[in-house]
Amino acid sequence: MPAAIDAQCVCKTYPGGGRGLADFSLSVGEGEAFGFLGPNGAGKTTFIKILLGLSRADAGTVRVLGRDPGETAVRARIGYLPEVAQYYEFLSARELLAFYGRLSGLAARQVRERTGPLLELVGLSEAADRPLATFSKGMLQRAGLAQALLHEPDLLIFDEPATGLDPLARLQIRDIILRQRQAGRTVFFSSHELSEVEMVCDRVGIVKDGVLKWCGPTREVAGDGERNLERLFLEVIGAGPGALTAPESLRL
């Protein structure tokens, strides 16, 4: 399977000495759904920024869809949903899609044709012409999902898409992501939600302190068995089962 994402020995250090990534290597095949897990500050967003060409690795090589992520053309094939859905609140959802569509090089006719079905898909048809300022967090995230899918990208990068959403909104977002996976798109999915990852992804990678600590098929760690994803995650990040036990003083 050709690699949609191929990172080899990537290092990234921030000014002031903060370590983003250290000798980080990862390969994600085309059409694969990959779950990217890790505690806060582990380096997940740093890696995503490198994939999007928003940041450059200090060392190592990164190829996205066979090209350097710094190339503008490669970003026309990537759909990105940021962790915090912040869009232009003075635009409506329809105008937002028109803006991102133009930037992605779509013709006005293509944008018009795709906007209706996409807004239908994310459940925003009735709110299509309302300003984003009036949207709830879940609606904004769904608008974000629509902009990520608008140009029919080959690679979808979702950075914690369900953070702060209510269960219904999570369910809707998960359903949309599953449909993209079924359509054969590569999905790179960063999340804190282990159950989401388990349901959506073919493979999982766990990163801690900028190092990929574990990477393998989801089926190996799925379910409630002896070696489930939650236990593995805690083990890999060094929290252990004791991390879930409240100290004596806090017990009721």
Binding site: Y14, P15, K49, L52, G53, L54, S55, G70, E71, T72, A73, R75, A76, I78, Y80, P82, V84, Q86, Y87, Y88, F90, L91, E95, F99, Y100, R102, L103, S104, G105, P131, G144, Q147
Partner: protein, 265 residues
């Protein structure tokens, strides 16, 4: 980083900036400024009194400059910091658009809005002076046209200055320093060379460097010619000043693109 700048993304980003100014009702500021310009003219009884006509023209053109500089600086200064603060910059740059195109688009949007506001102010000036002094009262139409063209060129330069400043200074420091620089150059820009010639040693060298390095905004200010109805500038002088302004603005926008390309987001 890709160095080329394509028209389509630049126009899209610029259009977004203009839409934002309208939707956030910032455009009303220009209308309020137009009132500020209009009221002294409406109130003044200048019909047939040449000295008073000149006085009011001078006052109103000064207001046009002050309002235009204020609109240009405040509009341009918040374009890129606004994108960064509300984190819309990430999904924007995740599109096939370069950082240079975003900078040029933001500058173009701010400049378009500021030029429109400046034209509105000049429109008020021309209409009201014509009305109050029975036609031809705006000064010679040729010199007024040159004045407007050079003023718009200055707006492009001032917006470029504010966009660059917004990437290296805080918002308030940027607006304050840019306003001081523009006001300083309008008032004393033409004296800098005399100062350099008259000052010996290191001070003279510094004055020369300032003379050659700072944007000579005063070159774009034809208020005296308009007020006194003098002849328009010679064609070559006019073209040379326009070229100077456009080149200076392009250099500032290029510097802003360079700074932004290295900025950590």
């Amino acid at each position: 980083m890709s160095v080329g700048v394509r028209i389509r993304p630049v126009v899209s980003v610029a259009r977004l900036s203009v839409v934002e100014l309208f939707r956030r009702r910032d455009v009303y500021v220009a209308l309020i400024f137009a009132l500020v310009v209009g009221v002294p003219l409406l109130g003044a009884n200048v019909f047939g009194v040449e000295g008073a006509v000149r006085y009011v023209r001078e006052l109103v053109l000064l207001l046009v400059w002050v309002c235009s500089v204020a609109v240009s600086l405040t509009t341009a200064a918040r374009q890129l910091p606004g994108e960064i603060q509300r984190r819309t910059i990430l999904p924007l740059l995740a599109r096939p658009v370069t950082r240079a195109e975003v900078v040029v688009g933001k500058w173009a949007g701010a400049a378009a809005a500021s030029c429109a506001a400046t034209l509105l102010l000049y429109g008020c000036y021309a209409a009201l002076t014509a009305l109050k002094s029975g036609g031809g009262g705006a000064g010679g139409w040729g010199v007024l046209a040159q004045s407007v063209a050079l003023h718009l060129c200055a707006v492009l330069l001032i917006c470029a200055l504010a966009v660059l400043g917004s990437l290296v200074l805080t918002a308030s420091a940027n607006v304050t320093l840019s306003a001081l620089l523009v006001a300083g150059m309008l008032l004393f820009g033409s004296r800098l060379y005399e100062l350099a010639a008259a000052t010996p040693g290191v001070g003279g060298v510094c004055a020369r460097l300032l003379h050659w390095g700072l944007p000579h905004v005063e070159l774009f200010d034809l208020r005296l010619r308009v007020v006194h109805g003098w002849e328009p500038l010679g064609a070559w002088v006019f073209v040379a000043i326009l070229a100077y302004g456009l080149l200076y603005a392009a250099s500032l926008v290029g510097a802003a693109a360079l700074v932004f390309s290295r900025k950590r987001l």
